[in-house]
């Protein structure tokens, strides 16, 4: 049974090159993020959540972190590990996720 | 675990010869051929040779290794040469050291460069013309959490 259009297909079109084909389960490095950015509801944490935030917001934040803006603690160092297409893919993916109950 | 600190030295009259570089990587087959070039098809016995190298290294640029050969090192019975071969560096024959009865002990300590996980083989050439070998596998990994990343 189809569960609806899979966002990954769209992402494959966005990211360049076969080597960067997005995984159906989160593009490059997306899955590591939930170690710090909570996806379960009710977790008491000062680290901002990402699920459901507008893609443009997440992408802008990652690019600012890369430039050393927004006074990050650790995100500047992490953001530098991603290319432009990877950032767009991540941002789109997080925008489509919802926190678990 | 790395072995405890050793003084790196080559005893007595040993001469270490460095083989010319090639750009392609060695393979197990090339290592076998390189060994054969030294032994010229003679039988290689296993034993007598202890190759001591850490099983896991985090810095392939400088890997300590030592080869000890069980030999009385007398005029009548001694080690003539120790050769070291590897499977994965650009050159299969990485080291050749000549020894003799004046060496005292058949012990070679040095550092070699390994760019990937591979098998290392040490061949000892004895004064009676016999060849003995010892081998070890080394995993070359990367050091984790090194600060000098900029």
């Amino acid at each position: 049974m189809r569960r609806g259009r899979w966002i990954g297909l769209l992402l494959m079109g966005l990211s360049g090159g076969a080597a960067h084909a997005a995984s159906p389960d989160g593009p490059f490095g997306a899955m590591s993020c939930s170690g710090c950015h909570a996806t379960a509801r009710g977790v008491d944490t000062a680290i901002p959540r990402l699920n459901g935030r507008p893609a443009a917001e997440i992408a802008a934040a990652m690019r600012d972190f890369q430039k050393g803006e927004r006074a990050p603690t650790v995100m500047g160092r992490i953001a530098k590990g991603y290319t432009d297409p990877e950032i767009d893919a991540l941002a789109a993916w997080f925008a489509a996720q919802r926190d678990a109950p | 675990m790395s072995p405890s600190t050793r003084r790196a030295f080559v005893i007595g009259s040993a001469i270490a010869a460095v083989m010319p570089l090639s750009s392609a990587r060695a393979t197990p087959e090339q290592m076998r051929k390189a060994i054969e070039a030294v032994t010229r098809g003679a039988k290689i016995n296993t034993g007598k040779v202890t190759l001591d190298i850490p099983p896991l290294v985090e810095n392939g640029h400088t890997v300590p290794l030592s080869v000890t050969v069980d030999s009385p090192m007398t005029d009548a019975d001694h080690v003539r040469a120790i050769h070291i071969f590897n499977e994965n560096n650009p050159q299969p024959h990485v080291l050749h050291a000549n020894l003799g009865p004046r060496s005292g002990r058949a012990l070679l300590s040095t550092r070699i460069k390994l760019n990937a996980s591979q098998r290392i083989v040490a061949i000892a050439e004895l004064s009676d013309g016999g060849f003995w070998s010892g081998a070890a596998e080394v995993v070359v990994t990367l050091a984790a959490c090194v600060e000098e990343i900029v």
Binding site: - | C145, E147, I149
Partner: protein, 412 residues
Amino acid sequence: MQVGAAMVGALAAPRIASAQAVGRVVIVGGGFAGATCARTLKALEPKLAVSLIEPDPVFTACPFSNAVLGGLREIAQQQFTQDGVERAGVTVARRRAVGVDGKTVVLDSGARFQFDRLVLAPGIDINWSGLPGYTEAAAEKMPHAWKAGGQTVLLRRQLEAMDDGGLVVMSAPANPFRCPPGPYERVSLIAHYLKTKKPKSKLVLLDAKDAFSKQRLFQDAWAKLYPGLLEWVPLSKGGKVVSVDPADMTLATDFAKHKAAVANVIPPQRAGRIAEAAGVADRSGWCPVEPVSFESRLRPDIHVIGDAAIMGAMPKSAFSANAQAKVCAVAIVARLAGREPVEPRLINTCYSLVAPDYGITIAGVYKPTNGQLADIPGAGGVSPLDAPQEFRAREALYAEGWFRTITAETFG
């Protein structure tokens, strides 16, 4: 755009309508790697038969256990069950795996679990022949507390019972070992305890290394917060411990014998022993794996994740274990559906507390390069050396948030 319903914990995974992954996956070890892998597999592909083998009903988390040693936290805050993993649809067998026979895992009860893919996440075992004098019996007098639980409580009790003015001696091993910054966070938080409660006491750290993770940050903070209280003895100054005597409470280096009121020996380690039984550990005692799906280089169809594996530049940490687990689950689902796994990217961030309100981090982003995980150039690194107290306090706060988040994702 329709999105697949959010699953338990981490993933809201929209699924493509394509070849389904079918099969049985068995996971050995219910820590950060194993538990995360098990529930991620179920979230990605509910039809998979996923079993988790874990003998301990209670898992005690190592991260932040140093705060328990420092008297800043209760051990109960570190403890988690596998109930959440069970609710995610994973079959949990509370037994110990003792061997692998073909494509079957054998348990200590004699039960056999067949698998299409096996994931070993056994963590570490202490190498009981790695340090002369340091036997299992010795660990009752000189705890390692490098596997959290009873050992953590034991060491904490010893610190509480120590007279003011006593000498605490710690020893740290050569690489590789679980949690590179761990011994130095422990030194910091024990120093914090001594400074506040037993100020006449001293702390010596004997190290088998000349350099350690976040070294400049730690040493800078130690000079500021704990002057005169602690001493780090590196390898080149005779810091390597060559033997211990628990009857005597002494630790011997090449040059000196140190007598301790409380001794914490962090000894040489190896992959959890099931790895050797399964044939996936090499003579270093650790498990070589390929860097895309973490399949063993020694045995096909067996994956090794977490501290037991040789993961190149990616350190042995809970964050790494959790990240690798998710990548491994995705790769296994791909393989079972007949697809090639996609090359991953992984992140690690290690938080260390030098004091309750003073946190520091080291981070890395990794990708497969030349057969192992390597740092992506330009990314990662440590907290700035000269940061204001507000920055340190923020990192300490985020450390707390990280712990709650990762444990909720893994065990919630």
